[in-house]
Symmetry: C2
Subunit: 154 residues, 2 copies
DNA sequence: GAGAAAAGTTTGATTAGTCAAACACCGGCA
DNA sequence: TGCCGGTGTTTGACTAATCAAACTTTTCTC
């Protein structure tokens, strides 16, 4: 219930996003789920959840399950939206394999601006409008990717 | 002269890139130049340069000017290359204004993978092959940007 | 219901990044 | 030559992220 501290770090955004995702799968989200999802030890998960709770983004009582506040959920949804938009651009436009697209989306979602994301979205929709066969430079790009000169795997 | 510690943070990459850039303008790079370029206090610049020196990426004697080692310069050039490739994609393909392109490149350069950067590069060259007028979906995208539906400013 | 196992928390340590304030060095000028 | 101002460094403080180890609480199982 403290709210509005400086600015969230990438890690904090990852925690909120992760908790949001977990809460869509399970009835309750427990500390070990968070630790597992984020790849950290339970003690790290505990302390980070505590700082997020101090900021009013998470509701958490000792030994109880972890729940996002409305504010926390709003941020989590925002981060997830950026993530998904990025991932879909990387996969559908740049034709990256799903794993690379996912990994890069994870890393870029914290730094990209809304304006750029907006452009990415419009660009992807313009590309989709080309149909599967594609035309002009898009067809050329697809062919390049499918053949030699372009890296395919990480 | 310690070398090969874990992995560089985004901040460390920014310091190396900044020092590299500064050393292209000036005869020598001094602590205050670095502090000014990175927007931190001189004391912060000093301590960060010291940790980079411990890792063998910077050569620095107390009160002397700051110089990148070969290893440090190699990393700086790598970061700068990522930065420039990203910036040029954002500006030339997504048609973002120079300031936004620069800012986003600064933030994304640390997280993007080599594979994705490679795709970006090929994509941009395919687009360039379309000529200024553009064709098909590319022309449509350009028109969209120039008119209503797409955010133009930050 | 008692004890063991699992889950969660605390404590103490480390690395990174940052600042303000105090302190040290060095070069120019009077 | 001496000292003053700018430059650089240290010190002390803080936030964030992380772990391992010790400890506490809850939950399960017999």
């Amino acid at each position: 219930m403290d709210e509005s501290s400086p600015r969230l770090t990438a890690t904090m955004e990852d925690y909120l996003e992760g908790i949001f995702l977990l809460s869509r799968d399970r009835r309750v989200v427990r500390m070990r789920d968070i630790a597992g999802h984020l790849g950290v030890t339970p003690s790290t998960a505990t302390t980070t959840v505590q700082t997020l709770a101090k900021r009013g983004l998470i509701a958490h009582e000792k030994y109880e399950d972890v729940v996002l506040t409305d504010q926390g959920r709003a941020i989590a949804e925002e981060v997830l939206r950026r993530h998904e938009e990025l991932r879909s651009f990387l996969e559908e436009v740049l034709l990256l394999d799903p794993d690379t697209a996912e990994e890069d989306a994870c890393r870029l979602e914290h730094g990209i601006s809304e304006v750029t994301l907006d452009r990415l979205r419009h660009f992807a929709s313009a590309i989709r409008g080309c149909g599967n066969a594609g035309a002009g430079c898009m067809r050329r790009f697809r062919q390049q990717v499918q053949t030699a000169g372009v890296t395919m795997e990480p």
